[in-house]
């Protein structure tokens, strides 16, 4: 294999590329292992129930909504039927609601919900001390250190109330009397079956199937894992976005670096390739030789990167759990095929990167072996212009698309934008960089020294070499700036916009709790909305409940909001008709008009008719369906309020012990309105870190290669009377010029994309959105690039005492 023989001697120039591939394979191995390991896990509280029955889930798993629960009556009927099945010891409906223990205003323990006492059997939990709870009592995990008889504060959706500890249990959670739990919950989300000894779960499940019919899903064995909390499913989904984003980025940047390295190497080896053609190598053989070299390089990189990835997976997985990108139930698995697949992808990535260089190598004419002059830089072809501009357009469009996205999607769009930007930068660099360097060095044009002249002439005449050294700088700077600026611009805006839209100057937010109780909402004295979920068939329809105080915030197009408040509440059975207002956008999309009625299910699973009493055209609607707050409370007793908007900063006195704290609008916007924002931040930091890391690797790589390639030039300079010091000074000046220009262009591209995105946001939301530029990130990135590039460029030159040709 000729590739192996030539590689054996050329390896020093390819160390950087091989390392890049190693890092890529390591990233792919880590991300791949974490991706295949991230599977739903059956909550421990259902571990002893070998068969579980739950209602039909929504069709779209990314809706992240609990399935529509069974109404209590339907659940009772199912429980009665299921407990009569052969092999079933007991059928236990689960009533779960929001509750947590508080001591001195601070949360106590990790439990954020409570269930009826009978549910302990589903987890296989037993009493450690005391007895089962009755009214105004609670059983707690023995790990909390509470003794039976102690009085604690239980925070529920209504507010804090003192309860007595009745006993302790050998599992995590809170338990109350069954009828207390039943009163707190609207419907039943799951029924657990305890089977008799010797009864096979599969047999019991198949017997349960006809009984449940189309009204639910019977789960047993590993299938029970779908019962993981919806929050965990959502966290896993976000984690998946992060991991696929990182993998894609690693692969993409590797393609970029392999492409630029091999383009560079092919130009350097032009003469040698011509010689091979002269000696009878057909173009296909030259192409295959380049691909062969890349294959070996990819395998070498994989052999190095795979073990690193295997070692790094566990700590990285722990870190993801700590930051909230994976649920606490996450456990790492090591399928044997995954590292091999990562290496295979690494090899494919390298081949894709080298494709263009291989094609160019195959086009080398055998005549070039006989020619003396080195090949001049070709000017840019129209195809390259076209592709470069198209990539730039895609980058801007992705930036605009990112402005409309939220949560993890924002990160994904930012990533697409950056990828397109990298491509555009790589393609357009030869055209843009030389004039930019000339502009930069223009002030020094009149200086007497030779350095400025040499720097100007070198960058002018070697456009492609200049481009390939500046491109990674451009990549690092533009990527860091764009992603950082994009996230800051959007999150700052979204936080602020919600507050100002509610006509508020301050907020009250949860503090150590998942949401605000009614007691906290009352104490906050502001405006708020109570979120809930209606169901159209099994599909969730997000809705909020508002009170008369909030009505003034909305612009009514047709109908009358006051009709909402006339929801009959005390009727038995609960009222069938549910008055609702919808946003004009929702009305247009669904065709719902004023006065029309629509069958839905409430959060308690009961069927109702939603009658449209108003259509609103403006206002801070957190959901597209508005209900009466009291009606929501009646249907879903444990719903929580996410935030209360207040006219001035609320006094903290009345909020004490309620799991709430006041914030100014500015502090709220800065802190981020939700946990999602923090996740997006960490996601952003990861993306910037990985891309900048790859970019810096590329900077070092191209600088080392480029200086080595210029040994001849440098020797001529030395022979012409330049001192060693002068040569090194010239190299440092030239490198700095290229880095500064690359950084300047990266900044320009990022600013353009950020401005486009801010404009997009402004049009979309009708408010002026200020553009946030992360200057700190810029300074840090440029500084590191500068130091690394100069540090990488000088040693190869300094090492050659006489700058002799290779």
């Amino acid at each position: 294999m000729i590739a192996l023989d030539t590689l054996r001697r050329r390896w020093p120039s390819l160390v950087g590329t091989g390392l890049t591939l190693a890092v890529a394979v390591a990233v792919l191995t880590v991300c791949g292992l974490l991706l295949v390991s991230a599977r739903p896990v059956l909550p421990a509280r259902y571990a002893a129930a070998s068969v579980l029955v739950r209602p039909v889930p929504p069709g779209d798993p990314e809706a992240f909504a609990e399935p529509r629960p069974w109404p209590v009556e339907r659940a009772d009927a199912l429980v009665a039927g299921l407990s009569r099945l052969d092999g079933v010891r007991a059928a236990i409906p689960v009533h779960r609601f929001y509750a947590q223990l508080v001591r001195d205003g601070a949360p106590l323990g990790d439990a954020r919900d409570a269930a009826g006492w009978s549910a302990t059997a589903l987890g296989g939990y037993r009493l450690v001390s005391g007895r089962a709870p009755s009214a105004a009592e609670v059983a707690v995990s023995s790990g909390l250190g509470l003794a039976p008889g102690e009085t604690v504060t239980l925070l529920t959706a209504a507010g804090p109330q003192p309860v007595t500890v009745s006993g302790t249990v050998d599992g995590p959670g809170l338990w109350v009397a069954d009828d207390v739990a039943r009163a707190w919950t609207g419907g039943v989300p799951v029924i657990g079956l305890l089977t008799r000894d010797g009864a096979a779960a599969a047999t019991v499940a198949s017997a349960a199937n006809p009984l449940v019919g189309g009204d639910g899903v019977v789960l047993h064995g590993d299938g029970r894992a779908v019962l993981e909390p919806v929050g965990d499913t959502r966290i896993r989904w976000i984690g998946m976005q992060v991991l696929t984003g990182l993998s894609a980025l690693g692969a993409f940047v590797s393609v970029f670096i392999v492409a630029s390295t091999f383009a560079f190497a092919t130009r350097r080896r032009h003469r040698e390739l011509a010689l091979l053609r002269l000696l009878g190598a057909v173009p296909g053989q030259v192409r295959r030789m380049i691909h062969g070299e890349v294959l070996l390089l990819g395998l070498a990189g994989g052999a190095l990167g795979m073990p690193i990835g295997l070692l790094a997976a566990a700590p990285f997985g722990d870190w993801l759990v700590r930051t909230g990108f994976e649920p606490p139930t996450f456990t790492l698995t090591y399928p044997w095929w995954l590292p091999l697949a990562a290496v295979a992808v690494g090899v494919l990535v390298a081949q894709a990167g080298a494709g263009a260089a291989a094609r160019r190598a195959a086009r080398v004419s055998p005549l070039d072996a006989l020619r003396e002059a080195a090949l001049d830089d070709r000017p840019m072809g129209w195809g390259r212009w076209l592709a470069g501009c198209a990539a730039l357009a895609i980058a801007v469009l992705s930036g605009v698309a990112a402005s409309g996205a939220d949560g993890a999607n924002l990160g994904s769009y930012a990533l697409y934008a950056a990828m397109a930007l990298v491509t555009a930068a790589a393609l357009l660099a030869p055209a843009v960089l030389p004039p930019a360097v000339r502009l930069l060095t223009a002030p020094f044009a009149g200086s007497r020294g030779a350095t400025a002249l040499l720097v100007r002439q070198h960058t002018r005449t070697a456009a492609r070499r200049t481009a390939s050294t500046a491109a990674p700088v451009l990549l690092s700077v533009a990527f860091a700036m764009l992603v950082g600026g994009m996230v800051q611009t959007t999150t700052a805006f979204y936080g602020l916009s919600k507050v100002t839209a509610a006509g508020a100057a301050a907020v009250v937010v949860p503090d150590g709790t998942p949401g605000l109780s009614d007691a906290a909402v009352t104490a906050a004295r502001g405006r708020s909305a109570l979120p809930t979920t209606l169901y159209d068939g099994p599909e969730p329809l997000p809705a909020v409940g508002i009170g008369t105080a909030e009505h003034a915030l909305f612009t009514v197009a047709t109908g009358d909001l006051s009709a909402l408040a006339r929801t009959p509440l005390d009727a038995t059975p609960p009222a069938h008709e549910l008055p609702a207002a919808v946003t004009s956008g929702f009305a247009e999309r669904t065709g719902w008009v004023l006065g029309s009625g629509h069958p839905v299910s409430g959060p308690d699973g009961r069927e109702r008719t939603l009658s449209v009493v108003a259509v609103v055209s403006g206002g801070p609607a957190p959901a597209e369906i508005l209900l009466d707050r009291a009606a929501v409370r009646a249907m879903e007793p444990s719903a929580l309020t996410p935030v209360v908007y207040t006219e001035r900063l609320a006094a903290s006195g009345p909020l004490a012990g309620l799991g709430a704290r006041p914030l100014t609008a500015a502090a709220y916007a800065e802190a981020g309105s939700a946990d999602d924002d923090r996740l997006v931040w960490v996601f952003t930091a990861l993306l910037i870190g990985v891309s900048a890391g790859f970019g810096l690797l590329a900077v070092v790589n191209t600088m080392v290669m480029s200086t080595a390639a210029r040994a001849g030039d440098l020797r001529v300079l030395r022979l012409s009377g330049a001192t060693r010091r002068q040569v090194l000074g010239m190299l440092a000046a030239e490198t700095s010029a290229v880095v500064v220009v690359g950084a300047g262009l990266g900044l320009g591209v990022a600013l353009a994309a950020l401005a486009a995105m801010a404009r997009g946001l402004s049009t979309q939301l009708g408010v002026a959105v200020p553009m946030v530029v992360p200057w700190g990130t810029l300074a840090a990135t440029v500084g590191v690039c500068l130091v690394l590039a100069v540090a990488a460029a000088l040693p190869p030159a300094a090492r050659r005492r006489s700058f002799s040709a290779e």
């Binding site: 000729i2 001697r9 040698e272 091979l276 002269l278 000696l279 006989l370 290779e806």
Partner: protein, 245 residues
């Protein structure tokens, strides 16, 4: 006689560029190179001697006339077919950059066979290196060899495929007189001992004197033919030709 020539050029024309800037490099050149002969092609810079070699070797296409190598007319051959013809029937030696720097002397010699997907025969490679007096240098890289030794490795490589004709473009141009003499002697021996056909482009009368005959080019035309002359005679004829032209 015509049919037995290894390489035959008839009325070959080659022009570079178009319009006013067009340069006629070869203006109706006809020449034959018989088997087992050593021909030198001389001429001033720009006389078209390198173009003649490139056209005769099928590296470049001609604009008029005919080139036949070992019975194959180059007209109408595809790039791939010309590459294969070059690989199987033609050997090359030229001034510099003759060897692949990343390969050892032996690997360089075996390169044409590997490119032709034939397993290189170590014995054959060793014999080829021995023929040029480099038996002990098989494992050395080009950077570890002198200029003359590198050129002799290139010679061994050119011969490993037993080509019909060996083209040499200024093979001694980068060498001192001692190394030149060794390379020329090696070329001469190949012609004498193995009946190898050699066509060598040179501007050095001393090198040309190693050949059986010397063709002199000026302005793309064949202006003189000298047979069995010594360097002084060749130099004198060249000066005459230059004055006449």
């Amino acid at each position: 006689m015509t049919s037995t020539a290894t390489v035959r050029l008839s009325a070959v024309r080659k022009t570079y560029g178009t319009g006013a800037s067009a340069v006629t490099a070869l203006d109706g050149v006809s020449a034959e190179f018989a088997p087992g002969t050593f021909t030198a092609v001389m001429g001033a810079s720009g006389s078209g001697k390198s173009t003649l070699l490139q056209c005769a070797a099928g590296l470049d296409t001609v604009d008029g006339g005919q080139v036949v190598i070992a019975g194959t007319d180059l007209a109408g051959l595809s790039e791939r077919a010309r590459t294969l013809l070059r690989r199987d029937r033609i050997g090359f030696v030229f001034q510099a950059y003759n060897l692949v720097g990343a390969l050892t002397a032996a690997q360089n010699v075996a390169l044409p066979q590997r490119l032709a997907r034939r397993a290189p025969d170590p014995a054959e490679v060793a014999r080829a290196l021995a023929e040029v007096g480099l038996s002990g240098r098989a494992g050395h890289y080009p950077a570890q060899l002198s200029g003359g030794e590198q050129q002799r490795v290139a010679l061994a490589r050119a011969l490993i495929t037993r080509p019909a004709v060996l083209f040499a473009d200024e093979p001694t141009g980068a060498l001192d007189s001692t190394a030149s003499a060794v390379v020329l002697a090696a070329l001469r021996r190949l012609v004498g001992a193995y009946g190898q056909t050699v066509v060598m482009v040179t501007h050095d009368p001393v090198a040309a004197a190693a050949a059986d005959r010397v063709l002199v080019l000026a302005d793309g035309r064949l202006v003189d033919e000298i047979a069995g002359a010594d360097p002084a005679q060749i130099a004198a004829r060249l000066v005459q030709g230059a004055v006449a032209a």
